[in-house]
Structures are given as structure tokens and as C-alpha cells.
């Protein structure tokens, strides 16, 4: 069970948002980080996939007027999700170290 590239980004966004992660906020976070926004369909479909894989859990709540009284679906990173992110990160780092001339410092 591997994470896709887009899934990984979504998962990171969910993790970084903490308690406030639902469709719209995830979308906005990704827009800030990547500079382009995923379509809402792609995003929801990725979130559902992540939930099926067990990387996130969801609970419903927090209807507001600008949502026409419809509830939000808040996503939370699970322990398994964190492990998946770490694995993905490790894999990439090991790979990257074998590429000469890459600047790997994150500062």
C-alpha cells in the first residue's frame, strides 16, 4: 500500500491543519503551498481514498450558513497516516541523496 504523490500532499495538508481540516481548508492550504488549486472533485476523491486506506479518520459537524446549513467533514491524521508519511519521506530522502548536485538542506 503506497501513497500516491497527490495523496501524500493532501495528507500533509490535513496534518498541518490539525483540528480545522475539511474540504475547503485543505484546498486552500494546497493552493498556498503549491500555487495551484486542485479541483474539488479530485480532492474529495483523494480524501475518501485516504480514509479507506486508514490514513485519516473523519467526523461530521459544524454546519454554517455559508455552507447552506450543510455539515463539514473534519479529517484527522491517524497513527498509520503518520507512519505512511514518514515512510514516504524516508524513501524520497534516500533516493535524493543518490542524486549528485541536489541541495537537500531545508533551512
Amino acid at each position: 500500500m503506497k501513497l500516491g504523490a497527490f495523496e501524500e500532499l493532501v495528507l500533509l495538508a490535513v496534518g498541518s491543519l490539525g483540528e480545522e481540516a475539511y474540504g475547503v481548508t485543505v484546498k486552500e492550504t494546497l493552493q498556498q503551498k503549491m500555487g495551484k488549486s486542485p479541483s474539488i472533485g479530485a480532492l474529495h476523491s483523494a480524501l475518501y481514498r485516504l480514509e479507506d486506506k486508514g490514513c485519516v479518520t473523519s467526523e461530521e459537524g459544524g454546519a454554517t450558513t455559508e455552507r447552506g446549513g450543510r455539515r463539514k467533514k473534519f479529517y484527522k491524521l491517524t497513527a498509520y497516516g503518520i507512519t505512511m508519511l514518514e515512510e514516504a519521506n524516508q524513501l524520497r530522502m534516500e533516493f535524493a541523496r543518490q542524486v549528485p548536485g541536489l541541495n537537500l538542506s531545508t533551512e
Binding site: 474540504g23 479541483s39 474539488i40 476523491s45 461530521e60 455552507r67 450543510r70
Partner: protein, 855 residues
């Protein structure tokens, strides 16, 4: 953030709702709305709309479509639907009864009409070659007008077969009507048809034993149907047995065919070779009395073929005014009506009309169901509210209501099937068919089930969606759910129902009165004590002695004979000559021939001149003529005038009623003839011994004609038979107006129940403020009756105008008078009052405390 309602593009939104599964929809839609709002504030509505649409399309992915963790178990759900529906049916007995009976009546009508229409559409479909069978028809031009018929000359068939390669087979037929047939001791009257051998190549009438085609090839053989075989020979093998037709011609049975199906245009019991008919007659091109049928090679171009026929006919007939053409058997039964040479519908119009009527009555029944269901909406609103609060989705509630509708419909269907079974015999009598509902006919049953299902869906759909749309809080609080337009819609429906009913009542009364009017028409002679014996076969030889013996009887005052029975007088002949006839002037003249004493026996009166008499030897050249003929031919001095080829007029008969009792008399010319005689007339005195006298007549008859069964017709009864069509029309009119009234009354009950329910609070307040019960019930009743008033105002003038136009086609007609409309209105109002009074009184006597308790 403003507190406005969110309006994303509706179409996109609905599309989203349609394709999304419920679990995904809420959060997805929420996100979309939120985004939409943000964009609207930043970029304006237009762009936001476009983005929204794109977002919706982007969401069209597998995740949104699949149902996750479905928690509804359909079998238990359905079981639950059924239980609840059954309870509702049991608790509201009256309501269920109204509904079920309304639907049952509608469905019974629907089934009957379905049976009838399928029978009509199945005519002649049993012929294997149906698509390529044609009947030859002829147009004839007279005084610039086309007349179309199916009679053709005898040589036509053979010359078509020999002269045209497209014609595979051709046959001439002649229906000779019922003839006396006997075999040994068995006598019966059977329908005789003369036909060429090809008849059985063209048509599909399968043989049971023997070869029918061979049989028609050999003179002296006949083909009979199974039914006739059973009548004549019981269980013995009929092949090779002798039968006698009309006591004159003997034949040997050479083949037995299956009975002719009831949906056949051509009907017969016995087929005699056409060659027998031709033997001692010279049938030329100018004798049009036969039907001609042909089987064309597949893929023949009909237009080109018809032109070829025209060319061929011109060779043989020096008459420019006659055109023959082939007409497909497929269309013969339903489309055989021509108006001035152009096809002009036919029975198909009637099929459409009846079909529309059926759909209509079913619709009325469905409308009632809706009316009644929505009328009880207050009561059901609470149930809907509670269900919604507990968490029922809308589709569950819709399913619940549809199940209820289906249940009621299927009870109705069950009743209607029983009802149809019961009324089918009398319906068959009314329409002269033999329709049946056999269990084996899966097609019929599946269409009946489909009919029920459609009706249920149609009737249940409006209440289901109307009721399931309630908002739970309001429904439970009983704040009423006013749906704009719904109550107007209901009023329109009831008005419409009454419009139809009043229209039909007026029509029924008019048909009734018109029929009475015609039946009371003075005839011009006395029918009371006149009888008529059919003269068949070789009876003519002994007529003179038979007549003399009859006249010896006490009380017999006159005996004569004629070619026609007074009620129907021969077909019109065209091209008749009279002095002073203009070159373009022509009209059909009826010709008949009679024996001596005809005027005296029948009781007709002479306007001038005299009856035929043996004292004048030259009367074989004489003729009588009726007043109408004198008028139409503009004869100044009729008596003594020469008419036709070589005869002259000796007397003018006062007009009497014959042929169509509803129209003005037609011109009639009567010759003294002794060869074309088919009816013996006997007049006797009107006293108490007439039955005994009949017995004496029978004895004398059997002395002279031992082989023939004694048959006697009272002219009065024969005349009454002319009204059978109008009578069955009257029966159908009464039936349908009865049904329409019944359903309209149900509709009115529904409406009044609904209105009473809606105005409960108002009535309560009025009572508290001091209105009396009678005040309120009258006010309510008037309100209920408004649709009836309105429909009367609409229906009366329209029906009056239409019926007046219809009556214009009848010469002997009534004038519409005010009392007809008054009666119809009165009937409708009386019924309506009865229907609404119950609810009006119930509403006005209710305790105001009950209805105002919650305020």
C-alpha cells in the same frame, strides 16, 4: 458573511444531487457552497457560477456515485411499507372504499375498452398473407360527386389473374345471406358464400378434413365450417355426404374448414363454387354485384398497379365515370370509409374516440385519488413530520405513499377484473362481439397489470411528492402547508369532471328524446297486423295456390308478395330515365317489384291513380311511383306518364317510411314482377283469434312447402330492429354518462372534504362569533357548488351547439328545448348537493373548541 440564501446555478446543483450518493452529497455540497460564496464575494456571481459548474463536473467520479455502507434493507423496508399501508386502509374505511371503488370503475372501463380495441385491431390478422391481400373497390362519379363501394363485375377477377403478372391469385365472392340448408332430417339456415377456388389460396381458413381448394374446383362440391358440420351431421364424418341448398341444388360435402374467427371481415358458413352461380347466368362487365379479392406478389407498386387496372377497365367499360382500385385488406376493417373519393378514416375514428374515452375515465379516477389523498394531508402531515424527525429520508416517505397507492389500485384492479367478468356477457350483447378474458392470454393479463401499475403510479405520484415535501417542524405544529395553485388546480379538475358529466347527461337526454321521436313517427301504413314469410328456393311455383288457400281463412284480409319486406326496399339504381330529365341530373331511384294486391295488403294509400290489377292485361308494363319520386322528377301529370324504357305510371302511392326511418323518403318505383319475389305478405284482422290463425297459416304452409321450416316475421318487429344501433348507442351513452357522473361525484366528495378540512379553523372562529350552523353549511355548500355552476355554464352551450349540428344530419329531428338543459342541470345539481352536504354539515357542526384548541 451575509445571511442570504445561497443560489448556485440550479441546473448544476440538481445534477449534483442526482448523481451523488446520499452519504457523499452533504459534505461535498457544503464545500461547494462555501467555495461558491467566497468566489462570489471576490470575483462576482457570474464567474462563481461558472466555477461551480466546473466543480460539479469534476466531482463526477466513482467515489461520489457508489453507495457506502448502505443501511436500508429493502425487504424489511417493503414489509414495513405494506404493514403501514394495510393499517391505513383498515383505519380509514370510508376513504379507502371511495378510492377503491373509483379506481375499480375506472380500471374496469379501461379493461373493457382494452379488450374491445385489441379485438378491433386484430381484424383479419389471422390471414398468413394479410399484407398482400387486396380487395377491389370502385369509385363512381355521379353529378360530380364520388361514390365508393366494393361491388365489382364478375369478369374482373379472372381477367386480372390472366392479364397481370403481379396478381398471384384472384377470387370473386358473393355473399348470398342465410339460405335454407338441409341434410337428411336436419334443416338450418346458414350463410352461403359463392367463391372461386383461389379463395382458399388467398385467405387462411385451414381445412380440418378434405381439400378446400379442390372442392371449389369441382362443381357440385361444397366446403362447410365445423360448426355447420356439427349441426347437420352431429358426429358422423361429413365428407361425401349430400346437402341440399334452398331445396333446389344438391351438393356433396368435399371439405370441412375451421370456423371463421369472429375478427374476420368476411363471414360465412358454407362455400359453394362460384362456377355453380355462373352456370346459367351471363355475367358481363356491366353487372356490379360481386366482391373481388386478389393476392399480389410481394413488393408490388400499388400506385402503378392501380393505374394498370384503370387502363384495363376502360377497355371493357365505355364509362369514364368508373374507377377501380385495389385496397389493402390490412386497412379494410378500420379505414374503409371514403368521402368523395378520398380515404376518410372509418372505424378507426371510433377506436380512437373510445380509446380517448377510456384514458379519460381512468384519468378522472386518478384525479379523484389525488384529490382524496391530498384532502387528508392534514392528518398525514403529522406522520410525515415525525418520520422525518426520526430520520426518514424523503424517498422513504415517497415509497411509503406510493406503496399505499399501489395497494389501493391493486384492490381496485382485483375488483375491476371481477366486474368485467360479470358485465362482459351484457357488454357483448350491447356491442355484438364475443370478447372474452381467458386466463391463457398472457398478453392481455400483462397489459392489464401494466394498466394497474401505471394507474397506481399516476394516482400516487402527486400525493407522494406533495406530502413528502412537508417541513417537519411545521407539519408537527399543524401550521398547515399551503401549496399555492394546488387548491385552484383541484377546483379546475372538479369543474372539468362536471363539465364532462353535464355534457354527457345532455347528450343522453337528447339521444333518448330523439329516439322516442323517431319511433313515434307516422309510418303511412299499419304495421300492427301485418306478417311476412320469407320466400326461399322454389317456393314461388306454388305461390298462387297458397295465396288462394290463405284467403279462404277466416280473418285473413289480404295476401300479396314482393321483392322487399317494406322495411328495407332495394338499393338505389342510377341512370334512371324520366321525361324532362336534364343532362347532368341524376339521383338514385329505389326499384322494387310486387304482386297483385300489394297496396291493399300492406295498407298503403294511393294519392292518385290505381293499384295493379289483373283486370288490366297490360299491367306488366305499368308501374307505381311514390310522391317523393313525383316531386323529384317534377312530373306534372304523373298518371299515364311514360317512365324508364317502356313502362307507364298507373298510380301514385302516398309516401311511407322505408329504409332509413330517420330521413325523408327516397324516390321509389314499383313494378309488377313475379320473378324477384322474396317475401309473402299476409294481412289479418286485429281480433283475439290471431294466434290461432297463425297456427292455421302454418298448417297450410306445411302442406305446400314441407321441406321448409315455417318462418314468420311481424313487420312491426322487423321495423323495431332498425333501431337497434341507436338503442345500443343510447345504452353506451347512458353507461358512460353514469360512470362520468359517478366519478365526478367522488371528485366532489374529495374536494369538499379537502375544503372542509382547510377551513376548519375559520368555521370554528365563525361559530365562536355567533354564526349558526345553517349559515355555515349553506355558505360552505355554495362554495363547493361553484365548480358545478361554472361547468354547467360552460357545458350547456357547447353541448347544445354540438348536438344541434349533429341533429342537422337527421331529417326527422327534434328541436332542442330549454327543459333538456334544465333537467341535466337539475340532475347534476341534485347529485352535487347530496355529495357536498355531508361534509358541509359535518364541518359546521364540529365543536369549535376542537379546531381552535391550539391557538
Amino acid at each position: 458573511m451575509s445571511n442570504r440564501k445561497i443560489h448556485p446555478p440550479r441546473l448544476a446543483d440538481r445534477f449534483l444531487r442526482w448523481f451523488c450518493s446520499d452519504e457523499v452529497l452533504e459534505t461535498l455540497q457544503g464545500d461547494l457552497y462555501e467555495l461558491y460564496e467566497k468566489r462570489r464575494e471576490k470575483k462576482g456571481e457570474f464567474l462563481a457560477d461558472i466555477y461551480y459548474a466546473f466543480d460539479v463536473l469534476s466531482a463526477l467520479r466513482p467515489f461520489a456515485l457508489e453507495k457506502k455502507r448502505s443501511n436500508s434493507n429493502y425487504t424489511t423496508m417493503f414489509h414495513h411499507y405494506l404493514t403501514i399501508s394495510w393499517r391505513n386502509l383498515r383505519v380509514n374505511r370510508l376513504y379507502s372504499l371511495l378510492n377503491i371503488s373509483g379506481l375499480a370503475v375506472g380500471l374496469a372501463c379501461g379493461i373493457l375498452i382494452l379488450l374491445w380495441i385489441s379485438h378491433e385491431l386484430s381484424y383479419d390478422t389471422f390471414h398468413r398473407n394479410q399484407a398482400n391481400i387486396y380487395q377491389l373497390m370502385r369509385h363512381e362519379v355521379m353529378s360530380g360527386e364520388y361514390f365508393t363501394g366494393d361491388v365489382t363485375p364478375a369478369p374482373l377477377g379472372p381477367s386480372l389473374k390472366s392479364g397481370m403478372p403481379e396478381v398471384l391469385y384472384a377470387t370473386r365472392t358473393l355473399g348470398a345471406g342465410k339460405q335454407l340448408v338441409n341434410a337428411g332430417h336436419e334443416n338450418t339456415y346458414e350463410a352461403v358464400l359463392y367463391a372461386d377456388p383461389d379463395f382458399f389460396n388467398i385467405m387462411t381458413f385451414p381445412s380440418v378434413t378434405g381439400n378446400a381448394i379442390e372442392a371449389l374446383n369441382s362443381p357440385g362440391s361444397v366446403v362447410i365450417t365445423e360448426r355447420t358440420a356439427k349441426k347437420l351431421f352431429e358426429h358422423a364424418d361429413p365428407i361425401g355426404k349430400a346437402i341440399t341448398v334452398n331445396n333446389t341444388d344438391e351438393f356433396l360435402v368435399a371439405a370441412v374448414i375451421r370456423d371463421v374467427p369472429t375478427n374476420s371481415s368476411i363471414r360465412f358458413d358454407i362455400v359453394i363454387p362460384f362456377s355453380t352461380y355462373e352456370q346459367n347466368r351471363h355475367l358481363k362487365w356491366d353487372n356490379n354485384s360481386f366482391q373481388t379479392w386478389i393476392l399480389l406478389a410481394p413488393a408490388t407498386n400499388l400506385l402503378a398497379f392501380n393505374e394498370k387496372i384503370d387502363g384495363m377497365v376502360e377497355e371493357h367499360l365505355d364509362n369514364e365515370e368508373v374507377h377501380l382500385f385495389a385496397f389493402p385488406l390490412e386497412r379494410l376493417h378500420l379505414y374503409n370509409h371514403f368521402a368523395n373519393g378520398r380515404p376518410d378514416g372509418g372505424k378507426i375514428d371510433f377506436v380512437y374516440l373510445v380509446g380517448a374515452l377510456g384514458v379519460f375515465i381512468l384519468l378522472l379516477a386518478c384525479v379523484n385519488f389525488m384529490n382524496l389523498a391530498t384532502a387528508r394531508s392534514e392528518r398525514r402531515a403529522k406522520e410525515v413530520g415525525i418520520r422525518k424527525v426520526i430520520g426518514a429520508q424523503r424517498r422513504i416517505i415517497v415509497g411509503q405513499f406510493l406503496t399505499e397507492a399501489m395497494m389501493i389500485t391493486f384492490f381496485g384492479l382485483f375488483l375491476s377484473v371481477i366486474a368485467v367478468k360479470l358485465v362482459l356477457p351484457s357488454f357483448n350483447e350491447l356491442t355484438g362481439k364475443d370478447l372474452s378474458m381467458s386466463l391463457a392470454n398472457w398478453r392481455l393479463w400483462s397489459s392489464v397489470l401494466l394498466l394497474g401499475w401505471t394507474t397506481g403510479m399516476l394516482a400516487g405520484s402527486y400525493p407522494a411528492f406533495f406530502l413528502s415535501g412537508f417541513k417537519p417542524v411545521q407539519a408537527i405544529a399543524g401550521l398547515g402547508n399551503t401549496v399555492k395553485g394546488a387548491s385552484i388546480f383541484r377546483r379546475v379538475l372538479v369543474t372539468f369532471q362536471f363539465f364532462v358529466s353535464i355534457f354527457l347527461i345532455i347528450s343522453t337526454i337528447v339521444i333518448y328524446v330523439q329516439l322516442e321521436h323517431i319511433q313515434g313517427r307516422p309510418l303511412g301504413y299499419d304495421q300492427e297486423t301485418l306478417i311476412e314469410l320469407p320466400m326461399r328456393g322454389d317456393m314461388g311455383k306454388a305461390f298462387e295456390v297458397f295465396k288462394n288457400d290463405l284467403l279462404q281463412l277466416q280473418g285473413v284480409t289480404g295476401v300479396s308478395a314482393g321483392g322487399d319486406n317494406l322495411i328495407k326496399v332495394g338499393g338505389g339504381v342510377t341512370g334512371f330515365q324520366w321525361p324532362g330529365k336534364g343532362p347532368d341530373e341524376d339521383f338514385p331511384v329505389n326499384i322494387t317489384s310486387v304482386h297483385y294486391d300489394w297496396i291493399k295488403t300492406t295498407g298503403l294509400t294511393m294519392a292518385e291513380g290505381r293499384d295493379f290489377s289483373p283486370e288490366y292485361g297490360t299491367d306488366s308494363l305499368a308501374c307505381l311511383i311514390n310522391e317523393t319520386a313525383v316531386r323529384r322528377m317534377r312530373l306534372e301529370q304523373p298518371v299515364g306518364t311514360h317512365l324508364g324504357e317502356k313502362s307507364y305510371i298507373v298510380g301514385v302511392v302516398k309516401d311511407f317510411v322505408f329504409n332509413d326511418p330517420t330521413s325523408d323518403p327516397e324516390p321509389l318505383v314499383i313494378y309488377l314482377g313475379t320473378n324477384q319475389i322474396r317475401h309473402i305478405f299476409i294481412r289479418f284482422e286485429n281480433d283475439h283469434d290471431w294466434q290461432q290463425r297463425l297456427g292455421q297459416i302454418e298448417q297450410i304452409f306445411e302442406g305446400y312447402f314441407p321441406a321448409y321450416p315455417f318462418e314468420v316475421h311481424f313487420t312491426k318487429d322487423e321495423y323495431q330492429k332498425r333501431f337497434e344501433v341507436i338503442r345500443s348507442m343510447r345504452g353506451i351513452a347512458i353507461l358512460f354518462s353514469g360512470l362520468a357522473i359517478f366519478i365526478a361525484c367522488l371528485g366532489l366528495i374529495g374536494l369538499s372534504a379537502y375544503v372542509a378540512e382547510r377551513r376548519k379553523k375559520e368555521v370554528g372562529i365563525r361559530k365562536v362569533l355567533g354564526a349558526t350552523i345553517s349559515n355555515i353549511s349553506i355558505a360552505l355548500s355554495l362554495d363547493f357548488l361553484k365548480p358545478v355552476f361554472l361547468s354547467f355554464l360552460l357545458a350547456a352551450p357547447l353541448a347544445g351547439w354540438l348536438l344541434d349540428t349533429g341533429l342537422d344530419n337527421i331529417d326527422y329531428r327534434i328541436e332542442l328545448s330549454w327543459w333538456i338543459f334544465a333537467l341535466a342541470g337539475g340532475v347534476a345539481f341534485t347529485l352535487a348537493c347530496l355529495m357536498v352536504s355531508y361534509h358541509a354539515i359535518k364541518a359546521s357542526t364540529a365543536n369549535p373548541v376542537e379546531s381552535l384548541r391550539r391557538e
